[in-house]
């Protein structure tokens, strides 16, 4: 027998008590004396003489007795200590050997665990990055964002220069406060115009955040003057891509929006700013100009040591109120929020869903492995009984089996980290824009600790049940059980229960994922209310300095549209204030002709300003009435179907009048299809929309283009056409409408894709579990099935019987799972759109899919059962 020494140690004498040691020594010495006495008797001595001679021959009996007892006691102590230490290594070696002997079992268990643990590590890494990870700045937890927020903080507006200055002067709870603002610019490097994200920053920010430029310097105060020198700092990525990371880049120039800027520095790779959890990574950095009246600033500040956020925020509110008392903006309170951001309701919902899903996957994985171990424990019952009979302590055997499962868990955990690493790369690749911070996600040491934790917990959890169930049966029981045709009833019931639970859990996951898939489909292109295909949007901006009057702006806007439409390859062009689905929102008192007024409370109304041909270009239907007859038709509007139904329920909206605040009254002339905004299901972003006529004297608008073919050069041609009208015109944010739509839906898609992956994993694992139980059952019943076949049962009948057994388990799991799914469905109703939580289609599909999977899982064992060779089956054992 290989390594018989280790094996023998498993059958070691039971531990000896000190009484036992003493009596053993006595017995040994008594035996010797008796043998000696017999020897002397044979030489002719009498009984008493012989005994006395034996004692004399021995020497000091009592001294030897004491010596031996002392020595044995200390030896026993030593052995125990050595066993405790050496036992672990020995257990491990033994466990490894056992696992190697059953590679199918080991691979099944390790893969199962790797999937369960890997999914958990990946999602925990995501959660860590989104919630727990500290900011990469010194004292990052003291960084705050300063904003104006409506009650509840749902809606925020960004403050302007005056507020920044007032806060800086008066707020004593803040160490510093600095503003920045980000937007797109066109940089021209070697006649290749490209749009990059530019951030205008307070020159002090790099110093305040302890992140100085990698090369060169930060801005000087002279450079923040509106007419100061034009300078720029390159972002790390732009430095690499446009200048090849050249070290002599300082002093060279770069054209930003057609104006030459001198490069004075390069930012380090990780220089990103934060605004309420939104990471702002600039590709180009410009000085924040020191002119008054700038709006929409992001403001970052740092709390003084020991000042609670609440205190500082109250101070900010008081200062803010003094500034805006009596104005419109007073509706928004000045507040400080953690710069790291608070998770939005939707992100939290997403994380809860994903965490739940991976938890379920891990549970199923554990149930699977427990079931595998249990089957093995039954198969090894004879070995265990023999060991017990030979004197191995029950605790020793339980420890041995626990070692095996912990070793399995460790292997699974290691493989799980590999799975997680791969999964994270997929997650990063498909992250939605709003979760851009995920780009930095990686498996952190904390997460590794978490893996070790769950691996160990898993090992102990699924190791304990089989270990105890396995040794619970007494010697006789197990031997009888082995001779019988079935395994022990208790373990079979336990395994069946585990499989039912697995199927139930995977049903819950499958239904949840199914509902989300349906939601995303409902939100799909065909239901957007417009057709984004083939359309491209670009923002057009007319800087105040170059176009001071309305006439100049109107001329520039209309001429640009003309010039762009004359470009070859351009089918049609129109102008609109915003690009759906995310349009601007008015806030104020909406008054509806004769019907109602929102009073002083105010409502959010999404709106857009469009030209007459807008609806045709967007492929939107006008279901009632008409579009504008001519450009800038006065005092008329179109509204969306949802708007009409909400404010004039059951009546025609045509001809009705409305106005915002003290504006002019406008008559409704048409009703357009609803535009759904996929990312948001909140009330105010809903589809109750007003369309005003587009007035061409605006400073900003969007060109909506339909090029004949999507060519790379289209953007450059639009830029040059606009420059032909006036070089001061800026063109930005050149994007296809399809990408705009996809971005809005990215979060749902992201959640759905991950959830679906987890659901599929869960079903796969449950199928594996079902297969395992059925296959094992067939193996256990070989003799019985053989008898049935010998008695003339048709193979088809045996096959049906086995499949039927699998179906019963699956049906029980389905029933339980549907009950669970109904509860979960109600809990996630808020994330669903146009799909009821009891969606019959989803449930129907899940039932069909699972039934199919169950049939597949039991089919292979069923075929094996029907093909049992009768003679072999009966000869076995």
């Amino acid at each position: 027998m290989p390594n018989s020494n280790a094996f023998r140690r498993l059958f070691r004498f039971p531990r000896r008590s000190s009484d036992r040691i003493a009596s053993d020594v006595d017995d040994e010495l008594d035996f010797h004396l008796a043998m000696r006495a017999a020897e002397f008797r044979r030489q002719g001595l009498s009984e008493s003489e012989a005994q006395a001679a034996a004692r004399r021959r021995f020497g000091d009996v009592d001294d030897a007795r004491l010596y031996c007892r002392t020595l044995d006691t200390s030896a026993e102590r030593m052995t125990r200590r050595r066993d405790a230490l050496g036992g672990v290594g020995q257990d491990l070696r033994f466990a490894l050997r056992q696992l190697r002997r059953t590679p199918t079992f080991t691979i099944a268990a390790v893969v199962t665990l790797a999937l369960g643990i890997g999914a958990n590590v990946a999602i925990f890494s995501v959660v860590y990055r989104l919630i727990l990870a500290p900011l990469p700045f010194p004292d990052g937890d003291r960084l705050v964002s300063f904003v104006r927020a409506m009650q509840g903080g749902e809606m925020t507006v960004s403050p302007g220069t005056e507020e920044l200055r007032a806060m800086r002067d008066r707020a004593r709870s803040l160490e510093w406060l600095a503003g920045f603002t980000d937007g797109d610019v066109v940089v021209d490097v070697a006649r290749d115009p490209r749009i990059v994200r530019a951030v205008r920053i307070d020159p002090e920010l790099p110093r305040l955040l302890s992140l100085p430029p990698l090369l060169g310097r930060t801005f000087s105060s002279e450079e923040t003057e509106p007419n100061g020198p034009s300078v720029a700092i390159l972002g790390h990525a732009l430095w690499q891509s446009a200048f090849g990371g050249a070290a002599d880049v300082l002093g060279r120039s770069i054209a930003v929006d057609g104006v030459s800027h001198t490069i004075v520095g390069v930012m380090p790779r990780d220089f990103d700013l934060l605004d309420r959890g939104r990471w702002v990574g600039g590709e180009l950095w410009l000085p924040l100009l020191a002119d008054d009246g700038q709006r929409g600033l992001s403001i970052l500040g740092k709390l003084r040591t020991g000042v609670p956020l609440q205190t500082a925020s109250s101070e900010a509110s008081a200062i803010g109120q003094a500034l805006t008392a009596g104005t419109e903006e007073d509706k928004f309170r000045a507040v400080l929020l953690p710069a790291k951001g608070e998770l939005g309701e939707e992100t939290r919902r997403m994380l809860v869903l994903l965490f739940g899903a991976v938890g379920v996957v891990l549970l199923i994985a554990c149930a699977n492995v427990a079931s595998l171990l249990l089957a093995r424990a039954v198969a090894r019952a004879r070995e265990i009984s023999v060991r017990t009979a030979l004197g191995a302590a029950r605790g020793r055997i339980v420890r041995q089996m626990l070692t095996e499962s912990v070793l399995l868990a460790a292997m699974g955990g290691t493989a799980g980290v590999a799975v997680a690493y791969w999964a994270l790369q997929v997650i990063v690749a498909m992250r939605p824009e709003s979760l851009s911070v995920l780009a930095g996600v990686r498996i952190e040491p904390v997460v590794l600790g978490w893996t070790a934790g769950i691996s160990l917990l898993t090992g102990v959890a699924f190791g304990l049940v089989p270990a105890i169930a396995g040794t619970g049966s007494s010697f006789g029981d197990a031997l009888r059980g082995l001779r019988g045709s079935t395994g022990t009833g208790g373990s079979r019931r336990l395994r069946s229960g585990l499989v039912v639970a697995e199927v139930a859990l995977s049903v819950v996951l499958l239904v949840t994922a199914g509902l989300l898939v349906r939601t995303v489909r409902e939100l799909g292109d065909k239901n957007l209310g417009f057709d984004p295909s083939g359309l491209v949007a670009a923002r057009i901006m007319l800087p105040r300095e170059a176009f001071p009057t309305a006439e100049e702006r109107r001329a520039a806007m209309e001429q640009t549209m003309e010039a762009v439409s004359r470009e070859p390859g351009m089918r049609s062009v129109t102008l609109a204030l915003d690009v759906p689905p995310q349009t601007g929102v008015m806030f104020g008192d909406l008054q509806i002709d004769g019907a109602m007024s929102t009073g002083g409370k105010g409502v959010m109304v999404p709106f857009n300003a469009v030209r007459p041909e807008y609806f045709r270009e967007m492929r939107m239907r006008i279901t009632e009435g008409r579009t504008f007859e001519r450009l800038e038709e006065p005092n008329v509007v179109l509204v969306s179907r949802a708007f009409a139904e909400h404010y004039w329920p059951g009546q025609s909206a045509i001809g009705r009048r409305l106005r915002m605040d003290d504006g002019e009254w406008s008559a409704v002339i048409g009703i357009a299809d609803d535009v759904r905004s996929p990312g948001n299901t909140e009330e105010y972003f809903g589809s109750r929309q007003i369309y005003f006529p587009f007035e061409a004297d605006r400073r900003e608008a969007h060109l909506i283009l339909r090029p004949r073919a999507a060519e790379a050069g289209t953007f450059a041609r639009v830029v040059s056409a606009a420059a032909g009208v006036n070089p001061a015109i800026r063109i930005r944010e050149y994007r296809t409408l399809e990408s705009v739509v996809a971005e809005g839906r990215a979060r749902e898609r992201f959640t759905m894709a991950l959830l679906s992956a987890f659901a599929i994993t869960a079903v796969g694992l449950a199928a594996l579990g079902l297969y395992g139980v059925i296959a094992y059952g067939v193996a256990q019943r070989t003799r019985e099935l053989g008898v049935r076949l010998a008695m003339g049962a048709a193979p088809a009948r045996v096959r049906r019987m086995v499949v039927w057994q699998g179906m019963q388990l699956a049906a029980a799991g389905l029933a339980l799972g549907i009950v669970g799914a109904a509860a979960v469905g109600r809990a996630i109703e808020a994330s669903l759109y146009e799909v009821g939580s009891a969606d019959p289609f989803t449930y129907g599909t899940v039932v069909v899919v699972l039934t199919g999977v169950a049939i597949l899982a039991s089919w292979a064992p069923a075929r094996r059962a029907a093909a049992i060779d009768v003679v072999t089956a009966l000869r076995r054992d």
């Binding site: 040994e28 035996f31 010797h32 021959r57 021995f58 020497g59 030897a64 031996c68 020595l71």
Partner: protein, 110 residues
Amino acid sequence: MDRSPTDLLHGTLDVLILKTVSWGPRHGYDIARWIEDRTRGELIVEDAALYKALHRLERARWISAEWGMSESRRRAKFYDLTTRGRQQLKSEMQVWHRYAVAVSAVLEVA
């Protein structure tokens, strides 16, 4: 019993015991008798010293013990050589031979 037995040199008893059990398990009395027989009574081992040595060797894990039945159908403790003990025996035998050769060399010159 009238001759005084040759006193054993210190440490010699251990190697004798190891050698004795190297052919298979024996109980204490058997070991004592075997040494006496082999040396034709030249070496008489004191029983007390023998048992002390047996337990000492067992604690050093050079020999292992197991209870079994003696020829006379009595429960007796049998000692057997372990792998460690076999190595120990080998090295002690080498030491003993070198010692014996060295001592004889001196004595022969004298």
